[in-house]
């Protein structure tokens, strides 16, 4: 609880610091074009709180409660500059910190006595984009890092975009994530002598070994303005993963009552194809639609459809109800508790790989007056709440706040 309090105080402190930073004054450039050095242009602060209940804990082989809470806070600073060739450079630095609790982690111990049921995740990121407006092209590179107790991830990316003569834009982004999964096994499956006795008599585990996981993604996009009210985008990702793709503390119970760790193939090919269509209806209503078809080499096929309808109370204040429907088939390797055979080549009882459908609905508000909220440098305020239900009985709620300073 004290960690949560510290995080909350940090967020409030950051908010006050940003107000102070921007209150130094912004000079308006009304002269002819001149190169501009990189200058802090925008700060975004995003906070969210997620809570979940369910009854299919993967740690216990697909049974038992799986409550989770997650408090996520992220800050993103954006600097913008223009060079002598009128190329716009944008440098974006981000830092995120999540504090989560997951009671089911207590069951990494056979008796439910594991002490570590909470944890922190830190994830800094850095992106740089150079945009040539005359050519309608841009180039970007980025780096990302994530660190939590049992998982580390390093990501690198590079991308290009090119506008067409007719209000279209192609994009290509290549990214690679190089992860390490710490091999924390259920206590009954640890090799003999894995634990030592600490000074105060507590059980200690020496350094855990880890196993690599790589993810390579090629993302293609094409967007097009159709008319003054309608624009669309096609999105296609080709994702290839290899390495250790399960999690070492996810149990599987076989038909004979014995248990093991989930076993999944060491590679996976994913092909999601997305389509967005946004339409401005009249003067106050926007229809934001999205559809995705997904297929992968583990046998999962899914459909996702969502509709969000921002309604503008004023030009700068809107309310946006939304609804999302999702359905998927099961992975070839999924079976519920005590239904796998020991002769199965691969096995998991993780319900995110089962057949189910889900619904997600809620609403958001957005406030973005041209002179800032209450004439301050707080330019944008977005608040959004969503309620999520799965046919596996998993239920979650998430509330998010985005403050944008300019």
């Amino acid at each position: 609880m004290s960690i949560m309090r510290r995080i909350c105080l940090t967020v409030v402190g950051l908010y006050l610091m940003f107000l102070h930073t921007f209150s130094q004054g912004i000079t308006r450039d009304t002269a002819a074009f001149q190169p501009k050095k990189l200058k802090l242009d925008e700060i975004n602060l995003v906070s969210s709180y997620y809570t979940q209940t369910g009854d299919h804990s993967a740690i216990r082989g697909g049974i038992g409660p799986e409550p989770v809470t997650d408090l996520a806070n992220g800050v993103e600073l954006k600097w913008v500059g223009i060079d002598a060739q009128q190329r716009k450079s944008t440098l974006t630095a981000g830092m995120g910190i999540d504090y989560h609790t997951a009671a089911s982690q207590a069951w990494i111990s056979k008796t439910g006595a594991s002490r570590h049921t909470d944890g922190l995740r830190l994830y800094p990121s850095l992106d740089w984009t150079r945009e040539n407006e005359r050519r309608g092209s841009s180039f970007s590179v980025g780096a990302y890092y994530s660190n939590e107790f049992n998982y580390k991830s390093l990501g690198l990316s590079a991308g290009i975009t090119q506008k067409t003569k007719n209000n279209g834009e192609f994009g290509l982004k290549l990214s690679g994530y190089f992860d390490q999964v710490k091999l924390i096994l259920p206590s009954e499956l640890e090799p003999a002598g894995a634990y030592t006795i600490g000074r105060n008599g507590e059980l200690r585990h020496p350094d855990y070994p880890s196993s690599p996981r790589q993810t390579y993604t090629a993302s293609f996009s094409f967007s097009q303005v159709i008319n003054t009210r309608l624009q669309v985008a096609f999105l296609l990702d080709g994702v290839y993963q290899n390495g250790y793709l399960g999690l070492p503390f996810h149990r599987v119970y076989f038909t004979d009552g014995t248990d093991s760790v989930e076993k999944l193939p060491s590679n996976r090919l994913k092909l999601p194809l997305g389509f967005r269509l946004n339409y401005f209806l009249g003067d106050r209503v926007i229809l934001r639609t999205y559809y995705r078809y997904y297929v992968d080499s583990w046998g999962i096929r899914s459909h996702t459809a969502s509709l969000e309808v921002p309604f503008k109370i004023t030009p700068f204040f809107s309310i946006s109800p939304f609804y999302r429907y999702y359905t998927q088939t099961a992975a070839n390797y999924f079976s519920p508790y005590e239904q796998h055979l020991k002769t199965d080549g691969y096995y998991t009882s993780n319900y995110s790989l089962s057949a189910f459908s889900s619904q997600f609905f809620g609403a958001g508000i957005r406030l973005a007056p041209p002179k800032g909220i209450f004439n301050t440098h707080l330019a944008t305020l977005e608040l959004r709440y969503g309620h999520y239900t799965q046919t596996t009985d998993l239920v979650s709620d998430v509330i998010s706040l985005n403050l944008g300073f300019k």
């Binding site: 989560h100 991830s153 990501g155 209000n167 009210r229 993963q241 092909l271 934001r288 998993l394």
Partner: protein, 77 residues
């Protein structure tokens, strides 16, 4: 499985092909883009959606094609 992936790829090619044909029907000038340029018309997820998209990618078997991240981070709690 190969057949399913190939049929998925065929669908992708058809849709991308249709997308490439779209430019021929567009004649919107810059000064006509007041609605298109509205911040809520953006063809991407917004920052305020980040946390829910993360949760969905961890609790569901599929992810991607939404301008978001496709790897990194555990989500194992």
């Amino acid at each position: 499985m190969k057949g399913k992936i190939l049929s998925g790829l065929s669908l992708v090619c058809i849709v991308m092909g249709v997308g490439i044909l779209f430019p021929s029907c567009s004649t919107v000038k810059e000064y006509q883009k007041s609605r298109i340029n509205d911040s809520e018309m953006t063809l991407a997820n917004r920052k305020v959606e980040k946390s829910e998209l993360n949760a969905q990618s961890y609790r569901e078997g599929s992810s991607g094609a939404n301008s978001g991240k496709t790897g990194g981070g555990c989500g194992c709690n």
